[in-house]
Amino acid sequence: MDSPIDFRALVESASDLVLVVSLDGNVEYVNRAWLDAMGYTPDEAMALTVDEIMTPDSSEAYWEAIQAIRGGATMMSLDVRMLTKSGEVLILEGNLFPRVEEGQVVGVQGIYHDISARRLAEEEARRSHARTEFLLDLMTHDLMNINQEVLSTFELLLRHGGLTDDMRVIVREGVAEVDRATKLIGKMKKLIHIETSPPVPKVLDLGDVLFSVAAEIESEFPDKTLDLRTELQRGQVTVLADEYLSDVFRGLLHNSMKYDPSDTVRVDVNVRRMPRTPFVRVEVSDYGPGIADERKESVFARLSDITDRKESVLGLGIGLALVRTIVEHYGGQIHVEDRVPGDHTKGARFVLLLRTATTGAGGTQ
């Protein structure tokens, strides 16, 4: 029975390129898409050989493919570079099959998809990424050196006996600014690192991380006390994370300490396993000024979002952008809501879903 499909018409009208060559490398058939892409007329095409339409490196690979196909093999996703009539290079991805007549392999038929644009975009993205990383690395490294020089100069001034009290205050402010710049550079480096070459997650104790960070944060605010209230204990809950998990809690607790004007800053941390899910839910609630609805999303601006918004870097800081990037890298989620629903002025509640390191459903941890 005749096939209901007109294969010739199908191939002729395909948008992918079809090329059939004999085992000695002569072109035997090309479809309309191939002619259009390569710029040859049908007669010209029929006079071509593999060596004339492939770049030298692709020609070599193609001849190897012909040898394999002669033995009956098929080749999937073979990358080849063909040279158009005007000399441009097309990057193609092809699937190659043997052409069989009377039980004998007599040629190679291939269908190719033009991936030139995709490859060029990938190469440009790779180059751009490498350039950005190089420049960022160079800049942050040199900025840290400059910070060292400024910091040491300020410290020398502070150690100098002749400085007046007023001048001492000014110099201390300078030291604080150097610290701020150092932290900002550190956060930028972490953001870039997580987005480009993230570490492999490992099993971490949530309590260890939280309590270590809380102690560090309290020492950063000598005039304030952190009143951390939680039922979480060390050794109770483990999550899949990495060394950046401490930056998550550092970012959240630092914000609470910074924006809550009270001398004693209360922060509640509630942790519970979510049954039938791979997540642990962590709620970090503070009693500070809260976050207005219109800012709830923008405080988490991603690196790609903040590149156009200088005020994000200089004003809001990138602390919460870093927090979001880290949590999402773990396959988790973060969002912020009002601690008291409907009244943002009573404080913020950050809700995190972190991946638990233990399997199986469980109750409250």
Binding site: H141, Q148, V150, S152, L156, V178
Partner: protein, 129 residues
């Protein structure tokens, strides 16, 4: 008596500020090198050997890791302290034999504490501070 310190860094201003800070605390800078190769060559010439080597990492001709390995091969008891902005080499630095790794920018008190810790025989009195 305070420590005799050898500074290795390709940034000349770093030499200047570190020397000022160290001198303020009574320590003596006994040598300056601006790349790892110079550091290895000079280390041999400083007599007696320095109590402490402050070693940067990213430098021309030879980096801090290689210089550390070579110096420690010549003198296994050398006390080398890494002072670098490149945290990515902190583990390698300690594996190479550095006593510790300090990330720039460092506070002067941190530097004095580390010198006290790794050159206790040289530091016989408390640095001002």
């Amino acid at each position: 008596m305070m420590a005799r310190v050898f500074i290795v860094d390709d940034d000349r201003f770093i030499h200047k500020v570190l020397e000022r800070i160290l001198s303020f605390a009574g320590h003596t800078v006994v040598g300056h090198a601006y790349n790892g190769k110079e550091a290895v060559e000079q280390f041999l010439q400083i007599r007696p050997p320095p109590d402490i080597v402050l070693m940067d990492h990213r430098m021309p001709l030879m980096n801090g890791l290689d210089a550390t390995r070579e110096i420690l091969q010549m003198n296994p008891s050398a006390a080398i302290i890494f002072v670098s902005a490149d945290e990515t080499v902190s583990e390698e630095a300690t594996e190479a034999g550095a006593k510790c790794f300090l990330t720039k920018p460092i506070r002067s008190n941190t530097l004095f504490d580390v010198i006290r810790k790794y050159a206790p025989e040289a530091v016989t009195e408390a640095a001002p501070g």
